[in-house]
């Protein structure tokens, strides 16, 4: 009887834990989305931000976030996927491999502000790129690389050994096997992981504080000359991203409508991250089905 009673009490506590967690997370998402949606308007999304007046928008910050994200992905995906290929296919169990594995682990566990400080030291000051999109994207590459490496390694390892062996048995070389057999088979997994990582990069702020800067010139979207200071494509201009903007208006900004701007920006940020997640899951399983259907 005693054991049964303990069982009931313990079950109750566990259910309570789950309820608390669900409540916290639901309340948070609900607050952000319900409160923030009413602050989002077409005007908010398409006008320049203001540093002291009410009524500023987030057009430039939104663009900067996507631009930094794209540059980060262009650099980190090829590097990360080949790092994953190295660990899954080329690395032999040795001290050297263990060392590289530790490096990935160290990179993954670095606090993002430390990554930002490294970016400040090397990209901003040493290379002299200043607070710029390029410095920010390179700092985020450091932050993103270990995630992509892990995702690719896991995806490659989950491919059937038979598939690989069949290809090698046909006399196809290792690299060709990786290119034509392993990578296509691992593609859905890698894609899902990359999109999820993109969501993480999109929301990252601490690493960008000292690398992409706290301000953004007002962008002129008719000027596509990459060397012009007001061009959206210029990689050497400072670029405040959306998540940095949220921190900025709350902590150091002096605009009177802080709450509206911050809650609207948070809602946009959360919606984009949620979209990335849903797309990642949807696309991953869709491609998986396509591949399975063909066989």
């Amino acid at each position: 009887m005693n054991a049964r009673l303990t069982n009931r009490i313990a079950t109750g506590i566990i259910v309570f834990c789950a309820l608390v967690m669900t409540a916290i997370l639901a309340a948070m998402l609900g607050y952000i989305l319900i409160n923030g949606l009413k602050d989002i308007s077409w005007h908010f999304l398409t006008s320049d931000s203001s540093s002291f007046e009410a009524g500023g928008g987030i057009k430039n910050q939104l663009w900067n976030s996507f631009y930094v994200l794209i540059i980060t992905m262009i650099i980190s995906v090829p590097l990360g996927v080949s790092g994953g290929i190295y660990l899954a296919e080329y690395a032999k169990p040795s001290k050297w491999t263990a060392f590289i594995r530790s490096c990935v682990e160290v990179l993954a566990s670095l606090p993002s502000i430390v990554v930002g400080m490294f970016g400040l030291l090397v990209f901003v000051n040493f290379f002299g790129w200043g607070f710029s999109i390029l410095s920010g994207a390179l700092a985020l590459t450091v932050f993103n690389l270990p995630v992509i490496v892990r995702v690719s390694e896991d995806a490659l390892r989950s491919v059937d050994v038979e598939q690989k062996e069949a290809s090698l048995a046909l006399g196809i070389t290792k690299w060709h096997t990786i290119k034509t057999v392993l990578l296509p088979a691992a593609f859905p997994g890698i894609l899902t992981g990359v999109i999820l990582a993109a969501g993480r990069v999109f929301g990252e702020s601490a690493a960008l504080l000292f690398t992409a800067g706290l301000s953004s010139p007002n962008l002129d979207f008719t000027n596509w000359n990459p060397t012009s200071q007001h061009s959206p494509l210029n990689m050497f201009r400072s670029a405040e991203t959306l998540s940095v903007h949220i921190w900025d208006v709350n902590s150091v900004g002096i605009i009177p409508d802080v709450h509206q701007v911050a809650s609207g920006s948070s809602a946009v940020l959360v919606i984009v991250v949620l979209l990335f997640n849903l797309i990642a899951r949807g696309l991953g399983s869709l491609i998986q089905k396509r591949i399975a259907g063909k066989q």
């Binding site: 054991a3 049964r4 303990t6 069982n7 313990a10 079950t11 506590i13 566990i14 309570f16 834990c17 789950a18 608390v20 967690m21 997370l25 948070m28 607050y31 590097l79 080949s82 790092g83 190295y86 660990l87 080329y90 490096c103 682990e105 160290v106 990179l107 566990s109 670095l110 606090p111 502000i113 430390v114 400080m117 490294f118 400040l120 030291l121 000051n125 450091v142 690389l145 270990p146 290792k174 690299w175 060709h176 999820l196 993480r200 929301g203 990252e204 601490a206 504080l209 000292f210 998540s243 940095v244 949220i246 921190w247 709350n250 902590s251 809650s263 948070s266 940020l269 991250v273 997640n277």
Partner: protein, 321 residues
Amino acid sequence: MSINLKDRGSINDFQSTSASDRMLKQQSKKDGLFAKKSELRGKIFIYSSAIFILAATVAITIFLTEKGLQSFFVSKLNVFYFLTQTNWTPDKNHFGALIFIIGSFTVTFLSAIIAAPIGVGSAIFMVEIAKKWGQKFLQPVIEILVGIPSVVYGFIGLTIIVPFIGKHTGTLGYGFLASAIVVGSMILPTVTSLAADALKAIPEDMKNASYALGATRWQTISRVVIPAALPSLLTAVVLGMARAFGEALAVQMVIGNSKVLTHTLVHPTATLTTIITLSMGHTTDGSTLNNALWSLGLVLLAMSYIFIILIRFLSTRRKLG
């Protein structure tokens, strides 16, 4: 014998002299050459990526260490004073960083105290109690929440939690309590999702054996599942703590940012990350304050190495178990 061999050879030669065979042979020669080149190219690309990862890690460690030690070698600050005193007044050249170190550890432990029981409890709920919808519905939702940006947590802390604490304690509401709640909820999805993976890795047979002996569900969970998964569960909590220790902006928004050591949970104070966040932009490169901030960064770097060593230790325990 020898004639036989010769014969066989000549037969083979004869067979491969048909036009299509010769073409195939040539083709494969060409392919072989081409494949060798592309094989080499692929290998070079893959290896250089691996070396890049290695170089990045080594560069970060060396550069930040070198820069972080300058306050002791160039600005001649006392290491002992830096690590054991709580007086941080850069104007008077006092650089005692202990307040920030204590602040970081306090936030980390308090948020782990909030996140660990709720996270592990929820993971048990998902894996052992509500298996079907727990894993089909709850787990994906939690994994999505892992990706919610930390500034969003900070913003909610600033607009809801800080005023709430302020109203009930008669203070401004900034401080350890607000930070711990914000960071605790931030690492909660991470801890839950990792703990759920740890519990799932326990073989069904072990649980079934326990149930077959007539054990209740709680007896099975507390005496079979949790002990078997303990190293992995601890790893989940340590990973959450590592994230809490390094979190900057969310904490900065709710901790109040005063450079005073506080003995209460509801008065403004600071951590390593928050002081770096706030002061770094206002210092000139090479000044004593600037160097001292880089030393704080070095403390953060050292702590993240310590967390890795801790996780390594836990994973060797897992293998032994």
